[in-house]
């Protein structure tokens, strides 16, 4: 069992930019659904909370078969609320540190395992990845690898990747983005993850290429 006790996976969104009329976490990438790549990574985390909204019945049916003790947190306002709202719904009653993960990501297992190990020291930590597109939220890092700033431009070597371990940090319902909340707590330690986030058809194509480079054999 991991010393990280809580993991929140956000799967509520419409995924409108992908345009597939499917909850993004259920989209197939090279024969498996996106959530199928994520669930083995959090198998050792005792309390898994999955925020559901769009196509909630399908998501709950699929996830509960793989992880019967998952807690589903409903966000019925998914169409008009941000990811911060979903994260707040799942974390407002937690009084211990938790990990947040966007449900539209495929993460290379070894890098995730290193992230988890690093999180066990108890300090809040922001997941960053090598920048892949110009549309990302970039992070300005200092020499010690601490995030100094989140920004849209100019492009920077690393981007915020939607994974964080948060100790003593509240994500507010009213925030537009999770990184807006994180900005109030800077500087925050960063940790590199190898991952792809699937927001657009181009991201999906990239994921289909990248996923073959990841080693899932022990995930």
């Amino acid at each position: 069992m991991s010393r990280v006790r809580y993991a929140i996976v956000s799967c509520a969104g419409l995924g409108s930019r992908l345009g597939l009329n499917s909850a993004k976490c259920l989209v197939h990438v090279e024969g498996k659904r996106i959530i199928d790549y994520l669930l083995p990574l959090v198998a050792d985390i005792e309390d898994l909370r999955v925020v559901v909204g769009f196509q909630e019945a399908e998501v709950m049916e699929h996830v509960s078969k793989i992880r019967p003790d998952a807690v589903f947190v409903r966000n019925p306002s998914y169409a008009s609320t941000s990811n911060s709202y979903s994260v707040n719904l799942a974390t407002h009653d937690l009084h211990e540190p938790f990990m947040i993960i966007d449900g539209d990501m495929i993460i290379e297992p070894a890098s995730f395992r290193r992230f988890l190990l690093a999180a066990e020291c108890g300090e809040s930590m922001v997941g960053v990845a090598r920048s892949k597109t110009d549309e990302a939220v970039f992070v300005k890092l200092d020499e010690s690898g601490y995030v100094q700033q989140f920004h849209r431009s100019p492009r920077a070597p690393f981007e915020w990747c939607g994974v964080a371990y948060l100790a003593g940090i509240r994500i507010e319902r009213s925030s537009k983005f999770v990184f807006d909340d994180l900005s109030r707590y800077l500087p925050l330690k960063s940790h590199e993850l190898e991952c792809v986030e699937i927001d657009t058809p181009d991201d999906l194509k990239m994921a289909q290429r990248e996923v073959h480079k990841y080693n899932f054999s022990y995930a």
């Binding site: 005792e46 309390d47 909370r49 559901v52 909630e56 019945a57 709950m60 509960s64 019967p68 003790d69 998952a70 807690v71 589903f72 947190v73 409903r74 019925p76 719904l89 009653d93 937690l94 009084h95």
Partner: protein, 200 residues
């Protein structure tokens, strides 16, 4: 610190099954009873009408026999552990008759809101009152700042609506769709349920 009350549905939640179909088996009416129970859980038949009919069908069973059958039903061990470690703040809220479930409730060890029977010795005469689950929540409001309710069928809808935290439970069967719409959380086994309860 807020005082929190935990209100548990009995059938299909604390008990891994339904009481009435098990009782009906002893008089060879199991299938008919299961059908009525399923339609009631789905909200097709109003609970009170269905319950009165089902009790009428089962009234020939001696109370002691019914108690023995109920006492043998399997319980959800994670939920029982939670209740027994929060005895003073856990409540069973069930439409079932007090006389049928009495020994089971004593064994579980927490307070129970239930329907009440008219009886004479070992013989069931009829129903004195049918439990309206929202009344249980209302009465607990006087003692608690926060109420958590857990159920799986449409007869739990008013209880979940009156609670501060509503949990649809699918450990025995999937919670009915309209109940899920009222819920803040949905869980599919006792372990998942206890994760939510532990953080309230």
């Amino acid at each position: 610190m807020q005082r929190v009350a935990f209100c548990f549905d009995l059938d299909g939640t604390v008990i891994r099954g339904e009481i009435l179909p098990h009782l009906a088996r002893s008089i060879d009416l199991a299938d008919e009873m299961q059908l009525l129970t399923t339609l009631t859980m789905q909200g097709v038949i109003p609970f009170e009408h269905s319950f009165r009919l089902r009790v009428k069908l089962l009234s020939e069973i001696p109370i002691s026999t019914a108690q023995e059958i109920v006492s043998k039903l399997p319980l959800e061990s994670n939920i029982i552990r939670f209740i027994q470690s929060h005895k003073n703040d856990s409540y069973l809220v069930t439409g079932n008759l007090d006389v049928w479930i009495k020994p089971l409730i004593e064994r579980i060890g927490c307070e129970c809101f239930s329907s009440e029977a008219n009886y004479s010795g070992d013989r069931l005469l009829g129903i004195k009152s049918v439990m309206q689950k929202e009344h249980a929540v209302k009465s607990l409001r006087e003692r608690y700042e926060r109420i958590v309710a857990i159920g799986d069928g449409m007869n739990d809808a008013m209880m979940l609506q009156g609670a501060d935290v509503a949990i649809a439970y699918g450990g025995f069967r999937s919670p009915v769709e309209n109940l899920v719409r009222l819920a803040h959380y949905v869980v599919y086994n006792g372990s998942g349920l206890c994760h939510v309860l532990d953080t309230q």
